[in-house]
C-alpha cells in the first residue's frame, strides 16, 4: 500500500507541529488538544492546499489559528459566572510569575505575549525563513522582525535579571 503524499507529509510534520503548539501554549496536554484540532482541520481542508511545498507552512498556520481560537474559547469559559457552567477545557493558568522566577529560557518565553512567542518559535526554534513565518502569522516581514527583536530583547533582559535576582514583570499582550 502506498500512502499518498498529503498523509505522508502530515505524519512527518507531526512532531514539529506538536513542538510549535507546545511553544505557544506551554502545556503538554493543551498542546496535544491543539494539535488534534489542527490535524482534524487539516484533514478536512485538504482541498485548500495546492502546492505540496507549502504544506509545512500551511499546517503551522492551522496550528497557530487553532491556538488562537482555543485561547479565545478558554477565556470565554473562564469568564462565565461560577456554578453556571462546567468549563469544557482547563482554564488558562494565570501568569503571575516574574522573570526572576524564570529558571530557563522556556519559562522566560512563556512570559512573552503570544504574538512574540509565535515569532520566536517559528524563527529561532523551527528555523523557518522570515517570509514563510510571516505568511503563517499573516503579518508582513517587517512586523515579524520587529516582534522577534522585542522577544529576543526581553529574553536577554530576563536572563540578566535572573542572574542578578532582579524582578521584571511579564510583557502584556497587546
Amino acid at each position: 500500500m502506498r500512502a499518498d503524499w498529503f498523509h505522508t507529509e502530515l505524519v512527518f510534520n507531526l512532531p514539529r507541529l506538536r513542538r510549535f503548539a507546545f511553544s505557544l501554549c506551554g502545556d503538554k496536554a493543551r498542546a496535544d488538544d491543539i494539535l488534534q484540532g489542527a490535524v482534524e482541520k487539516a484533514l478536512a481542508r485538504r482541498g485548500q492546499l495546492v502546492r505540496r511545498k507549502r504544506i509545512r507552512g500551511w499546517l503551522m498556520q492551522i496550528v497557530y489559528r487553532e491556538f488562537i481560537d482555543e485561547t479565545r474559547r478558554q477565556s470565554r469559559y473562564v469568564a462565565m459566572p461560577e456554578g453556571n457552567v462546567i468549563p469544557l477545557v482547563r482554564p488558562v493558568p494565570a501568569r503571575q510569575e516574574t522573570i526572576s522566577e524564570c529558571r530557563s529560557a522556556l519559562e522566560a518565553m512563556r512570559c512573552l505575549p503570544e504574538d512574540q512567542r509565535a515569532a520566536l518559535s517559528l524563527i529561532a526554534i523551527e528555523g523557518l525563513g522570515y517570509d514563510e513565518a510571516a505568511r503563517i502569522l499573516k503579518i508582513n516581514s517587517g512586523t515579524l522582525r520587529s516582534r522577534l527583536a522585542r522577544a529576543r530583547q526581553f529574553l536577554r533582559e530576563a536572563t540578566e535579571a535572573s542572574a542578578e535576582g532582579a524582578t521584571i514583570q511579564p510583557r502584556k499582550t497587546r
Partner: protein, 257 residues
C-alpha cells in the same frame, strides 16, 4: 489559489507603535533556538499521542480505500482486502510498535541479520538498489561510502557522510515498509542519537555524533528529497545488484566490501 487562506499581511505594528530594533536574522542567535528546542524536547515526550497518529492513519486508510475503489471499480472485494491488510499491518506494527521503546524499535529495524548470510545478488535485494542517494551538501555533508547488507525482513542500505570538521553521520534506509508512515522519532542506536521515520515503503534513520537537533534538520532535508511517488528518487531497479554505480562510488553488498 493561495495555499494560505488568509494570505494578506497585517499591519506593521513595529511602525505604528514605536519601532523596535529589527532582528538581524535567525542565524544571529542560534544558541537561543537550540536551548529552547532542547528545553521543549525535554518537557514533552517525543512520541506523538496515539490518538492523533490514529486520526491520520485512519484518514490515510480511507483515502487509500477510495483511490483503489475508483481505480479498480471493485468496491466490495477491494474494501475487504484493504481492511484485511489493515488488520495485518496493525498486527505487524504491534511487533515493534507501541510496546517497544523507540530505541529498541530502531535497533530492531536497523540491525543486521547476522544469521542470514551474505546478500545474494539474485535475491529480492536486487529490487532494492540506491538510485540517487540523498544530497546533503547544503548541510555540509558529503557522501563517502555506501553499503548494503541483509537485515531482518529486508535489506539495509547504509550511506556514510562526512562533514567539514570530520564529523560523520550515517543514513540508514530499510526497505521494509507497508505504506503506513511514521512521524520522526528520536532514540539511541549504539550510543548515538538517531532520528528515524517511515515514508511509504521505506524506513529511514539518520544517526551519528551530531546533536539530535542537527540530525533532525538532516532528516528534514532527506524528507524533502523524497518526491512522489515516495522513495522513487532513492530507489531504482538494479541491473544486477552485484555492483551499482552511485555517482563515482561502487556500491557493493556488505559481504564484498
Amino acid at each position: 489559489m493561495s495555499d494560505f487562506p488568509h494570505d494578506s499581511t497585517g499591519s506593521d505594528d513595529g511602525t505604528r507603535r514605536g519601532r523596535a530594533p529589527e532582528a538581524s536574522g535567525p542565524e544571529t542567535d542560534p544558541g537561543l533556538g537550540e536551548q529552547l528546542r532542547a528545553e521543549i524536547d525535554a518537557a514533552i515526550d517525543r512520541d506523538v499521542p496515539g490518538r492523533i497518529a490514529d486520526l491520520v492513519r485512519q484518514s490515510a486508510a480511507r483515502a487509500s480505500l477510495w483511490r483503489r475503489r475508483a481505480r479498480f471499480a471493485l468496491a466490495v472485494p477491494v474494501a475487504l482486502a484493504l481492511f484485511a491488510a489493515g488488520w495485518g499491518s496493525q498486527a505487524w506494527l504491534g511487533e515493534e510498535g507501541p510496546a517497544a521503546s523507540p530505541s529498541s524499535r530502531a535497533a530492531m529495524i536497523f540491525s543486521e541479520d547476522t544469521s542470514a548470510g551474505p546478500l545474494e545478488p539474485a535475491s529480492g535485494a536486487a529490487a532494492f538498489a540506491i538510485g540517487a542517494p540523498p544530497d546533503l551538501d547544503q548541510e555540509g555533508f558529503r557522501l563517502r561510502a555506501v553499503s548494503q547488507s541483509q537485515a531482518h525482513h529486508g535489506v539495509l542500505n547504509r550511506l556514510d557522510y562526512r562533514g567539514p570538521d570530520g564529523e560523520e553521520i550515517r543514513v540508514l534506509i530499510h526497505d521494509r515498509g507497508d505504506g503506513i508512515s511514521w512521524p520522526p522519532e528520536q532514540a539511541d542506536l549504539d550510543g548515538n542519537p538517531i532520528v528515524f521515520w517511515r515514508e511509504g515503503p521505506l524506513t529511514i534513520g539518520v544517526t551519528g555524533t551530531a546533536p539530535a537537533a542537527r540530525l533532525e534538520r538532516i532528516a528534514e532535508s532527506i524528507h524533502r528529497q523524497l518526491d512522489e511517488p515516495v522513495g522513487e528518487a532513492l530507489l531504482a531497479e538494479s541491473p544486477a545488484a552485484e555492483e551499482t554505480i552511485v555517482h563515482d562510488l561502487a556500491v557493493l553488498p556488505e559481504s564484498q566490501n
